[in-house]
Structure formats: C-alpha cells, structure tokens
Amino acid sequence: MFAALSNPAILLASEEGGGGVEFPPINLIVKWPAAFGEGTFYGFNKIALISMIAMIVPVILFLIAGRKASVVPRGIQNVMEVSVDFIEKQVVLPAIGKDGMRYLPMLMSMFFFIWIGNLFEIIPTSHMPANARMANPIMLAMVAWVMFIGVGVKHHGLKYFKDALFPPGVPKALYLLVTPIEFLSTFLIRPFSLAVRLFANMLAGHILLVTFSVLTITLFGAGILAIAGVLSFGMLVAFTAFEFMVAFLQAFIFSLLTAVYIGGALHPAH
C-alpha cells in the first residue's frame, strides 16, 4: 500500500561506472503523489494514509483494551492503562493539575496521533514520518493554540488577554517593551514553535536516515569502499534506534507543551 503511494525508488545514487553519491532532491523524499483527488482538498497521499493509520491503531488498541476490561488488568488492557497513567501523571497533573483531567482525551489523542505518525519513520516499506510534513504539526499546533486561548477566555474572560499582554507587577513604562514581546511569544510564536519543533525534528531524522541509506547503498556498490559501508550501515542502524526514541520524545514534548499552555491559561497566576 505504501509502495503504491510512494515515488519511484530513485534513491540508488551510484552512477553506472561508479560516479559517486547523488543525493535525491528534497521533494522526492518528502512529497508524495495522491492515490486519488490529486490537487483537490481531499487529495489522499501517503501522509494522509499514515494519518488515518495513526487514528485507527489507537482506536483498535483501546477498543480491545476496553472491551473486556477487568479490575485485574491483563495483556493489552494493562498496556493501555499504563499509557493513560503516563499521560495523566507525566503530562496532565504536573502541567495543569487535577482540573486538567477534562483535557486528558485531547492530550491522549494528540500523543498517540503524533507518536504513531512518527513511528512510520522507521517502519519498513513506509520510512516516512507523517510529521516530517508541515500539515499535521501545523494543524495540531492550531488545535493547541485554539485550546489554550479558549480555555483562558472561558475561565477568565477578556481579562485573560489583559493579564497575558500586561503582566501584573511590571512597571507601566515597561509595557511598551513587554506587551509586544508577550503578544508575539504567547499568541504567535507558541503555535509556530510547537509546529516547527515537531516538524523539524522529524524531517531532520528522516533526512538523516535517507542520507545514511543512500551512503550505505552507494558504498556497498563501490568496490573496496564497501568496508566503509559497514560503518555507514552501523550508523544507519544506530540512527534508526535513535529515531525510535525521538518519535516518542517529540510526541511527549508536544503533548506536554500543549498541557503547559493550557495550564498557564487556566491558572495564569502560576
């Protein structure tokens, strides 16, 4: 299925006769043709497929876990309860507090959607993290942005904007400096930094893996240099393991920062 949605495999870089490394253009490793609806708003390409899988996988796991949920958890129920506990104890409670439990479904969804989307970076035949494209990160960052502003307005009314832009305790003359900075950092840079952090990390990891893949293939077909190919292959394996960790870490960071922003809007004094 992934192969059908992928570009032609043109990653083999060595020219006939041994002409050195030719790295594929960036658009060939991040841009994917649509299976249908090309050029329309519903164009369904590889990234869209990964996004749908990133939704379906947690749905299936949670349905299995909840179907025969027992007081003494076993198997998949145990795993999913651990994930719920993780998000609750590491994200919701430290960043928002007990009244943040109402945001648990959103943060759980965010975490699983990002994590599984990221994992496709190292899943054979896919090798493309959904978040190495800007679409999902910017969409999720907009969700976080709307959420924390919405929470702030819901709980504090328009005073939320006043407190955010004119922090109490600051000398009035400094508002000339502080207010624009607060406006930029809170309402513009936050969603942008959220999106770019996730996107850039995953894109960098993807390019790194592609680089070492191309290098390894090239070196293995380059006579005596095949010895160096072993080293390159070792690095490829090591970076794959590293990206496995990054996939989890970025999902955790995105969820945590979203929770921190919501917590800040809910309890501005803190």
């Binding site: 708003f41 369904f44 749905v59 959607f113």
Partner: protein, 182 residues
C-alpha cells in the same frame, strides 16, 4: 517597503520551479484535511468511546482497593481484638489453673498431714500393743526362766555338795537371786 518585499517574494515563488518545494509551508491541503479528520475523529472517539471504559474500570479498581483496605483494616482490628481477648482468657485460665493447683496442693498437704497423723497414731498404738505383748512375753519368759534356773541351780548345787538340799528353801533363794538379777 514590507509589502514590496512580500510582493517580490510572491513573484519569486510563482516563477520558481514547481518541483522545488519549501518543506516548511504545507503545500498539500489534502494532508491537512485528512490529518484533521483523523485527529478530530480520534479525539471524539477517545472522549466518548475509548477512554471511558478504562477510566471507569480504573475508578472501580480504586474503589475496590479502598474497600479492600478498609476491610483489611477492620479484619486486622478484629484479629487484634481476638488476640487481646485470647490474652485475657489465657491470663484468666493461667490464674484459675494456679488457683486450682494451689487448692489441690493445700488439700493434698492437708490430707497428707491427716494420713501421717493417722499413721503415726496407728504406729503408736501398734507399738504400744507390741510393747505390752513384749513385756508380757518377757515376764512370762523370765518367770519360766527363773523356775528353770532355780531347778538347775539346785540340781547343780546338789551335785556339788553331793547331798540333798532342802528344795523349797533353796528354790526360794534361787528365785530371789533371779529376781535380783533381773
């Protein structure tokens, strides 16, 4: 100035090769569309379908833990009460046993004293009877022996003096002697 820069940038982008993409700009609206559908679908399902069973079972487990802990605490308290009751009962039993032993010992001591007194009394009476019997036997023996000795002495004296002696006189002499010798 700023608008002019933006216009120049837009012109540059429009004239650039369409295969040269800027990866920071989301250029495929379909990816955002399907991503949003997937994420919001997951969020809605998570909120209303996926999480509630696990949160409910977790709450049930927590309630059961609390009730089990309370039951364990109550059982522990009951066990402690039983242990205290047992200690009290044991102490009472020990005290009662000591009383019984003391009473039995006193009764045995008393009975032993009575038996000893009775035995002493019986021994004394038997001894007295035996002594009386002994005295009687001895008197009888001495009396018989006195007669025999007198006869023997008279006979012996007669032999020595080779003459008949006045038996009644000498018998009384011998009897007196025996009586003195006793």
């Amino acid at each position: 100035m700023f608008l002019a820069s933006l216009a120049a940038l837009a012109t540059e982008v429009a004239e650039s090769d369409p295969t040269d993409i800027n990866p920071v700009v989301p250029d495929e609206i379909g990816e955002i569309f399907w991503g949003a559908i997937a994420f919001f679908g997951l969020w809605i399902l998570m909120r209303y379908v996926l999480l509630p069973p696990l949160l409910k079972i977790r709450a049930d487990r927590r309630n059961q833990e609390i009730s089990d802990l309370q039951a364990a605490s109550a059982a522990d308290e009951a066990a402690e009460q039983v242990r205290r009751d047992y200690d009290v009962t044991l102490a009472e039993a020990n005290s009662e046993a000591n009383d019984i032993i003391a009473e039995a010992r006193a009764a045995a001591e008393h009975e032993r004293g009575e038996i000893v007194v009775a035995a002493d009394s019986e021994i004394a009476s038997e001894r007295q009877a035996a002594m009386a019997e002994l005295d009687s036997q001895r008197s009888s023996a001495v009396s018989e022996l006195g007669d025999d000795v007198a006869d023997l002495a008279v006979a012996a004296a007669s032999k020595v003096m080779d003459a008949s002696l006045d038996e009644p006189i000498h018998r009384s002499t011998a009897a007196n002697y025996v009586e003195d010798a006793r």
